[in-house]
Subunit: 250 residues, 2 copies
């Protein structure tokens, strides 16, 4: 993924960059993985989300890596987290540090999980591919519903940086087609909004390359993700620098 | 169309409201109509727009009623205007004050005009119905491409007021379907953008009610326009006033 030339404006405070460098996201995620694995963590499938009771140290790690959102309950000794389906499956299938269980506390197989996810959201495989694609590159990925996009991606914790990318996931496959950006007016609208909230529009085109038609977590490798950044072309910024212009005008 | 409760914020300057009241748009359009009729005005079909050479008084009237945009040429005695297809057909077929001619200067019949417009833009009948629907109610209607919508509608001249409505035209008919607002993310995106630029989202749903299948200017009556305003529901503003709330909490 292209790295922006001017990084200074993405940090929220002056000290944010130093803080981020001192605590790379990858190492905090590694600590989260160890902690969740050691405690045999179980996430409880509950409708369109997954509930998880975290120990105090896990609470801090989940907050720092931006998985789920803490929910307020009357229980004093544990903090419950509500994870999105993408977040839960990422912890379970990619990081392999959380088991997901149904209401009868039985562990679900990969195939059962996939079935459950798709029964909630037909476009789940494509969205999960996009989510895990970014997470695996250590981007913090949160819902983009506030901006009318699928995800927003942060370089580090949202308390330190502004979201850099507004992400729309596109797919060619029949039902997974979400119909976004098919008309110019939709395209203009999205681009204008991204400009207004100082985010770059990132299109992730998820395509199924091969595979036996069976959809499961292991078939994720059959999907290919193509990244495209969309931005306005600024003629002023794109022409040759002032030195050569001045030479030319003499 | 619903009139906003709080009108004060739409005016650009303090004196704008008085200026607008002194010069209702309907009377300026009536003067434009008289002037264009008297001079046997001819608009020249040219690709996706119509060119018109205006006399000085007509230049002023076109500018004040926001038809077309003046273009710079080397000719000193006349001011050329570039009209959109909707604007030109409105002047020609609804106000009946301009003839539209082809490159060989021959006047086009209604049917020929319609064919020409549709060859440039398949969705023209639906867009023109929406445009004329608003214009006939004395709204100033301009392109909404800057905001990723079909039109923007102003209560008076854009120099006096901010655009109140961002207009998206929807249609059920096969090819005219522009695929907008079919997904929640597109909907959120549009609504968020409208909020950001202080416009209300106005959906014009254009439906063909009957007719013999022939499409011409007179068949516009067969189309029905349904207006819908979309805005966020604000629980704070929608609940009962502070007096009754206080009573309830005692």
């Amino acid at each position: 993924m292209e790295v922006k030339q001017n990084m200074s404006r993405i940090w929220k405070q002056r000290t944010a960059e130093a803080k981020a460098l001192a605590e790379p996201l990858s190492s905090t995620i590694a600590r989260l993985k160890t902690s969740l694995t050691e405690s045999n963590s179980q996430g409880l499938l509950s409708g369109c989300s997954v509930l998880f009771a975290a120990r105090p140290d896990q609470t801090e790690l989940l907050n720092r890596t931006c998985f789920g959102r803490p929910i307020i309950t009357a229980e004093k000794d544990k903090q419950w987290f509500q994870l999105s389906l993408e977040e839960a499956l990422y912890l379970s299938s990619i990081l392999k540090c959380m088991k997901l269980v149904g209401e009868n506390k039985s562990t679900k197989s990969d195939e059962e999980l996939w079935c459950h996810m798709m029964s909630k959201y037909y476009n789940f495989p494509v969205m999960f591919k996009a989510y895990s694609h970014l997470r695996m590159k250590n981007w913090v990925v949160k819902s983009g519903s506030l901006y009318g996009v699928d995800f927003v991606a942060y370089r580090h914790h949202p308390s330190l940086v502004h979201a850099e990318y507004a992400v729309i996931v596109l797919s060619d496959e029949g039902e997974s087609k979400n119909g976004r950006l098919n008309s110019w007016s939709d395209f203009h609208c999205t681009l204008r909004l991204c400009g207004g909230v100082v985010k770059t529009l990132l299109l992730l085109h998820v395509r199924r390359m091969n595979g036996d038609g069976r959809i499961c977590v292991s078939s994720l490798d059959d999907y290919n993700v193509e990244e495209r950044i969309v931005s306005r072309w600024n003629p002023e910024k794109s022409r040759e620098g002032p030195t050569s212009t001045r030479e030319g005008s003499l």
